[in-house]
Amino acid sequence: MPSQAANYYRPQTPEMAVELLANLQGAAVIGGATLALGKLGGGRPSHLIDLCDAGLDRIGWRGHHLSIGATTTMRDLRRHPELSAPGLAAIMAMAGHFEPLPVAAQATLGGNLCTGVGSLVAPLLLYEAHAVLLGPDGERHAPIAPLRLHPGEIILSVELEPGSPMARSGCQSLRRTPVGPALVTLAALVDGDQLRLAVSGIEAPARRLRDLEGRWDRRSVAQWAESIAHVVRPIDDARGSADYRRAMVGVLAERLLKELLPTELREVH
């Protein structure tokens, strides 16, 4: 049992959360708490500031951007009508990975981004997503990969550009355990003959593979998969070697591109 001196706070607004964070030593902000309380988090925080009542679980439009609140759970992502377009299927695919698990109703978008190896980062990068943060100095926008929070900041939301309604997207990942970080996540979006690609888990930080992106050319799916495996810069850690990750991203790329490409393009090759 942790120390009896620890406290739990449930602020009603993001501003209250930021104020608490500034005044409590050893406090941690939690969305789903799956990392802060689990062994994966690497040490229990002294105090918990729970954002579950701070109103950060909304999905809606902010101008041309689709805004997803930081405490939106994987289950709510999966079920929200705004995310049902084929162009956003990559996000749905990753959120759906957690579907049969109880953690789906607890794990949040913000928590996934904070891990640094979250499997949602790659699909979000396809849509030029950025994080909206709130801290002692006010609100600011920041890249999601790498996501660098200043001291005392919390994530309010992630904003993205959904793009063309005709686009198709998808995502594939490989992980050792159902809820552990993915070794490799590859996301792709096909809009006409234009292709976007992003990886997370395999590299630190996650990134778009912009060198490869652009017009779908006459190369075969297998050749494209080989090119993707060639350009990634895999990390080497206890979960998998760099060579293994490189091989696996090629496998996932072939599966994903076969799934996404229009039949006429697939049959050419």
Binding site: M1, Q4, L37, G38, K39, D50, C52, P100, P102, V179
Partner: protein
């Protein structure tokens, strides 16, 4: 901090650290050992319990998020058809995962088919290291069917 909840039909009040997990509050504070803790990472499901009817992994669920809620552990279902079916089908070996399995089956909504495939998909968050799953899945299917048939 003072923690309170209705656990298995009984009002429980105890002192629990503010950063405790629900499993820690139930086992350490409420002395409810029907909740088992194995992985401590939200993977194995041994600590499954229901908070206001929703299945959670107690080891990664903040205790104070469940403050004042109705909580059901395996103790609520110990004499029910699911527990009996698991025993009859040879779905219990060391027994450590069994409480979580029983809670998980009781949490399943009506859109989960009471079939082997349905159970294997729905119980993906509950791991067993002993049985090899055959007896466990058979028991869970039979238990779910009996539960839906209204067997007490």
């Amino acid at each position: 901090m003072r923690w309170s909840a209705e656990v298995d039909g009984r009002l429980v009040e105890c002192d629990v650290p503010g950063n405790a997990s629900l499993a820690e509050a139930l086992r350490g504070g409420a002395e409810n050992t029907a909740v088992k803790v194995a992985c401590g990472e939200g993977i194995c499901g041994a600590c499954s319990c229901l908070v206001a009817g929703e299945r959670v992994h107690g080891c990664i669920y903040p205790a104070f998020r469940a403050y004042g809620q109705v909580i059901q552990t395996a103790a609520s279902f110990a004499d029910g058809p699911v527990a009996r079916a698991l025993v009859e089908a040879g779905g219990v070996q060391c027994g450590f995962c069994t409480p979580g399995m029983v809670v998980a089956v009781h949490s399943l909504s009506t859109d989960v088919p009471a079939t082997e495939a349905g159970i294997r998909h729905a119980l993906a968050g509950n791991l067993c290291r002993c049985t090899g799953y055959a007896g466990l899945v058979a028991g869970a299917v039979a238990g779910l069917q009996r539960l839906r048939a209204g067997e007490p």
